[in-house]
Amino acid sequence: MELARTNPGVISGKSAVPRVDGWTAGAFLIAGLIAMPILAIIALALAPSDDIWHHLASTVLPHYLTTTAALAAGVGLGTLIIGVGTAWLVTMFRFPLRGVFEWALLLPLAVPSYVIAYVYTDILEYAGPLQVALRDFFGWTSRRDYWFPEIRSLGGAIAMMTLVLYPYVYLLARAAFLEQSVCVLEVSRTLGKGPWRSFAQVALPLARPAIVIGLTLVVMETLNDFGTVDFFAVATLTTGIYDVWLNMNSAAGAAQLAVLTLVIVALLIAAERWARRKQRFHHTTPRYRALAITPLSPGRAALALLACLTPVALGFLIPAAQLVGFALDHRPAPGTGRFLDLAANSLLLASITAGLAVVIGLFLAYGVRVSRSHWLPAAIRFASIGYAIPGAVLAVGVVVSLAAWDNAVDAVARASFGFSPGLLLSGTVFAMVFGYLVRFMALSFGAIEASLGKVTPSMDGAARTLGHSPLSVLRRIHLPLLKGSLLTAAILVFVDCMKELPLTLLLRPFNFETLATNVHQLASAELLEQSAPGALAIVAAGILPVIALSRTIRRSRPGQGPLGNRP
């Protein structure tokens, strides 16, 4: 098996003597490599930055902080309500199109937030079709005649990000609900609690770790976003970072602001873990039967249908339709002749990264489980915090750490062999994949950890007592249980790589274009309509895996195999 080859130490893990086993050492090594760019940013932050803090604190910093907090809270709350609510509906109730919504609710995941922001601005602004229609209908003639919510605002940014990010919460919440033993819920029902109270008092608390991981991903993605907030002229910590870096010419100041963001995220995660420090969320029974799906009265079924349709329509159908409209109206822009090449580059990079991210994420998540080291979880959490850093800043961290490695290798080669290999990794596809892995570690590790945490350690204990090595336990017990979340991790990383922009721009080799860079160069030249084919291709490439994901998750429910008695 792959893992065995990369880390022969694990095979000998049969011994129960506490020592630094190969698995722990390997996990530390990988976490260390992934953490390199973050460490590079911290090193950058240690340089002096003039009196940037005094300037910021006396001018815009309070505003950055409150706006950022409002944005994160708004998007967090929005994704929580939509994600958990729809997940519960499609898991527990029967209503029309429920089977379609199971996967369709994931579709907005495929839409980049910068694209949805462009599209809705086009629809909702003064000259857009909606306001034109309203003016025609009511006979208004100018903007002063009526009030219409401004899309380019904090509220607009919250709405846009909520629409494309809620699938993270939906995905993890749904997986958690599906994995819950029906017995627990039945006990709750027998004790006289209705479906709603069972949800609030049993299912929701049990799913909390998974939902929190989903929410953490959402908040981190919200914090690292630059495209949407910049386009909507909302001043957040991230726009501040770019400003200090590029306008005030202080990379050190920007790195310091980025580290501040990281500290805030780390504190939030720590606080949440502390709040549930005494709780354990393992499944205590291996008994899984098909969930009893409650039929709904026609009125309620209609409401459930509407509740699921709204986010899908707003987050996917409308923007996709608008993009199709743009694409049909406009001939492709110059430079899009190699469209298939671009798509191939994007797909290849995203697939390679997704595969590696799952192997590494599984290795690390399982490392945390089998290792006796208390430092390992902290090291891995640190390594996966890169997701909260604005992409362009993280890209600089990657560039700096890879170039340092390359230049060191080059210096050694010159000294020892008298030839210069130049930069071996910088500016290659390897650099891009490494950058993606650093950025999206939180996705793969988080998704796998969420699922692994629910498997009771007594299973591991029993198997180990029977003489199985950790690797063997992983293969025979965990992998079958984890199949769904491994695929979840793979597809989250895949879809995010397809959309990824700042690292792609900076790390790529010469003459290398992807769909995302194509969309960006046209959109940044204010040629929105011409960027539509590329944006559509990104969305389309995300759809199939997303559907596959949903089907696998449904089948992955324990007790849902050939012997399952699901109708």
Partner: protein, 346 residues
């Protein structure tokens, strides 16, 4: 071999294998030149293709924005970059400050590019210029209402001004030029005056300012010249409407002149293809490329005597602010702080 040494060797081998496997397109062979470009590739592709056709030298491009400077710095003497192309004087200045450029001495460049549009020591060369002009509503702005940037801050423009973010590169450069001419205090007061006149919170891009004027949100806005040309030639008929709602005003014609910004090229310190790189920069300053810039990007060529785009031609000549742009760029960090102090974007 000691353990230490064998580890080193292993490191080299791993790097070599991975590097080779990752189909690195490192430029080693002769007959190449490597660009890191802030400018969108489709805007420079026609010139680069023509260069390759004439010279046989292949041109490789990485188009990136943020972090190019840090990438070159980190790569050090091994950096494959030969030339950096930028679209703003600020980036050129940052490259100079980071000490990652080398001077070029070229009679061709000195003949083609006016001294004002190149670095005194030949560290960078401007290739095109664009003026920061005022878009004004055709119907609602009288000719005498806006004659200068200063008028944008005057009381009679209250509630009539639109702007994109004060932090946007071109706005920062304009503000830095005001600092350079009139000092920090005067620049701060000017910016506060413009803020007091804003019709809405700063937002959107240059095109959306024209759109806002058409919609009646405001009467005037700052924009770059080439956007006018791009809107008029856009396939989307809407954009023509926006452009046709506004006329353009070159501010400060009676005094210091209209602020201009540059797109330019600079030679990287460790450039491996130095000769090819200088050939390319020279080519970009010659008639063929300058004419392409004028036609396709609707910009002002820096070389005198090159035909302008018909639209640009129709605006007639204007007086450009003659201040040395390196002097302006120096004040960019201060200008960015002024935007914060005034709370322009909030």
């Amino acid at each position: 071999m000691t353990l230490h040494k064998s580890l080193r060797t292993a490191g080299i081998l791993v790097s070599a294998v991975i590097g080779a496997a990752a189909f690195a397109s490192q430029a080693m062979a002769a007959g190449e030149v490597n660009l890191y470009s802030f400018r969108q590739p489709f805007l420079i592709e026609p010139m680069l293709k023509e260069f390759t056709r004439q010279s046989g030298i292949a041109v490789n491009v990485v188009y990136a924005e943020n972090g190019v400077l840090e990438r070159i710095k980190a790569e050090g003497p091994n950096s494959p970059a030969d030339i950096v192309l930028t679209v703003d004087i600020g980036r050129l200045h940052d490259l100079v400050e980071a000490e990652i450029l080398q001077p070029v001495k070229s009679p061709v460049l000195e003949a083609n590019i006016p001294a004002q549009y190149r670095h005194p020591d030949g560290l960078w060369f401007g290739l095109t210029s664009r003026a920061r002009i005022v878009f004004a509503s055709k119907d609602r702005v009288r000719a005498d209402e806006i004659r200068s940037y200063e008028d944008l801050a005057a009381p009679h423009m209250k509630g009539r001004v639109c702007s994109r973010s004060g932090k946007q590169d071109y706005n920062i450069s304009l503000l830095a030029s005001i600092v350079a001419h009139k000092g920090e205090q005067a620049a701060r007061e000017w910016l506060a005056g413009v803020k007091a006149n804003l019709a809405q919170k700063p937002q959107g891009n240059d095109r959306s300012q024209a759109k806002a004027i058409m919609e009646g949100v405001c009467d005037v806005a700052l924009a770059n010249t080439y956007y006018m040309g791009q809107m008029l030639s856009d396939k989307n008929p809407e954009q023509k409407d926006w452009a046709q709602a506004v006329r353009i005003i070159f501010p400060n014609q009676d005094e210091r002149g209209t602020h201009v910004n540059l797109s330019g090229a600079a030679l990287v310190r460790g450039a491996k293809n130095r000769d090819n790189a200088i050939k390319l920069i020279e080519f970009l300053s010659e008639d063929v490329a300058q004419k392409l810039y004028a036609e396709t990007n609707v910009e002002y060529p820096v070389k005198a005597g090159v035909a302008l785009h018909p639209l640009v031609e129709s605006w007639g000549p204007f007086k450009a602010d003659a201040i040395e742009l390196a002097q302006v760029a120096k004040f960019r960090p201060l200008a960015a702080r002024l935007v914060d102090q005034v709370g322009f974007d909030l």
